[in-house]
Symmetry: C2
Subunit: 303 residues, 2 copies
């Protein structure tokens, strides 16, 4: 067994270090360059047995996932992450080095260094990630802002993470199957979020709890309704998984000028987002192909 | 039982809301004013059974403590906290409202609003707090920087938190005894940290793991030794509790000009910090009244 300070020093070597003038891991707090424009702040936790099943996922997957979930919130504002803080609470036997391999991969993929955090012994593995981002002096895309008549877009097919979990549990797919990867290694859509903002997206949210719940947040905040024509379902996923599975981290956004969206995504070399319906003036309207949209979606319950 | 979104909406009403132009709780990420000067980032977790015993502490104490631990890291840089993110992982029956009463008290005391976070069901209560602060265009006080000959100061007596825990467990003191409050309601020393910086402190750290461990971090980072004359012990605390108990959140700092320290603290209306010894040129020297300083202090252990 090794004390936390020695472990932190070891983990630090798995991660990139600071440029001149900044202090990252190793002092009471990290000292970093301020953001360009407004500061974005968000935090999320990934909990063993709730979000991740360690019989199916590696600890590197947990590290990746914890980073991705927090970075995805910044993607959903159309902005850029700058710095992450990671707090790992876990049993003493936890292979934190392996967890940090996944963290380091996410640091590289998202260009979002880990500048500090905490390491604490506990019974149940809990990884909390806080991310600071920048608005770069432009207005972020909020949940509020969608207008009646706006087209509703989603950046990709949904339900892949939930289907991957189901099929991994059933032993029907291997760990490197695309649906398994959708569950183990979800990707925060940073480039898509920035393209949507550049294309004048009026509102945006990431699909963390399931399309039905997350589009509900956007519509509630905007005071509009939505008539969806269809929901794009990933691979062997079911419609229920696409609507309520969550953890896909695709982005749902609304835009007044669909032609501008198509041109902006093409110019950025990104796959075209899928137009799945329109916003309507009746804030109570939530339909899919004329039928009421199921009130599905994952929520934690408290008293 | 209530879904997390409804609970978050209820908790939000316990907390102050944003000024015009900022978005706090309720979107994918908070959008806030950037810091003046450099950005400080820090995160800490408080875990049931590790840092807090729920038979002795109320959930409001846990909320207060989680905020204080993270804010204390900013105090130890001589800086000002700006925003906090709070992630609560806990059993569904957790009285999160009571936890947030303590959070709200800390928000007011530290002038550090909660702008976002996460709420997740788990088996063991874990409260993670990330804090963003500002340097206000001045150099923060790091752990490195102490010079041989610098006077070593501590902002108050130590061991109170550990003694409070011991005496609460033994039923020897009530919940409002000063030592019980030192354990239940530790105070981040923001004003003292800023005064130390204004007085030219060369290095600073907060006493979270115990004086012996924390001054060790400062001396290691600075490459100097220390000869301490005495350790100020709080009330009925023992010397071991003062050296190794931790969670007092007093600040330890070094300064080249003790007269400037006395004048600055007096001018700020703060209790004078206690001069407990001097830095020495031998980086291996760690003595208390001529004897080796015990290598005490709390650490979490990992493989």
């Amino acid at each position: 067994m090794t004390g936390e300070f020695a472990v932190i020093d070891r983990l630090r070597r798995l991660l990139p270090g600071p440029p001149a003038g900044e202090t990252w891991i190793g002092d009471d707090a990290a000292v970093v360059m301020p953001p360009r424009g407004g500061l974005l702040l968000t935090a999320d936790a990934v909990v063993e047995g709730v979000h991740v099943d360690l019989d199916l996922l590696g600890l590197d997957d947990v590290g990746w996932k914890a980073m991705s979930v927090a970075v995805s919130d910044v993607a959903a504002m159309g902005c850029k992450p700058l710095y992450a803080l990671i707090t790992v609470c876990g049993p003493p036997a936890t292979d934190v080095d392996r967890l940090y391999v996944g963290v380091a991969e996410a640091v590289e993929a998202y260009e979002c260094p880990v500048v500090g955090g905490d390491l604490v012994s506990s019974l149940q593995l809990t990884v909390s990630v806080a991310v600071a981002g920048e608005t770069a002096h432009r207005t972020p895309v909020m949940r509020a802002g969608a207008l009646p008549g706006d087209r509703v877009f989603v950046t990709g097919r949904l339900g892949g993470s939930a289907a991957g979990l189901r099929l991994l549990r059933a032993g029907e797919i291997g760990h490197d199957h695309p649906l398994a990867l959708a569950h183990r290694r979800p990707l925060a859509r940073l480039a898509e979020g920035r393209a949507a903002r550049a294309a004048g997206a009026t509102a945006m949210v990431d699909v963390s709890d399931g399309l039905a719940a997350d589009i509900g947040h956007l519509l509630d905040a905007s005071g509009v309704g939505a008539a969806l024509d269809f929901v794009p379902v990933a691979g062997r996923a079911t419609l229920d998984e696409a609507l309520g599975g969550g953890e896909d981290y695709e982005l749902v956004f609304t835009a007044t000028n669909p032609g501008h969206v198509a041109a902006t995504f093409a110019e950025a070399g990104l796959r075209q987002p899928l137009g799945i319906g329109y916003c309507t003036a009746d804030p109570k309207e939530r339909t899919l192909a004329g039928e009421p949209l199921p009130d599905a979606g994952w929520q934690h319950h408290f008293r």
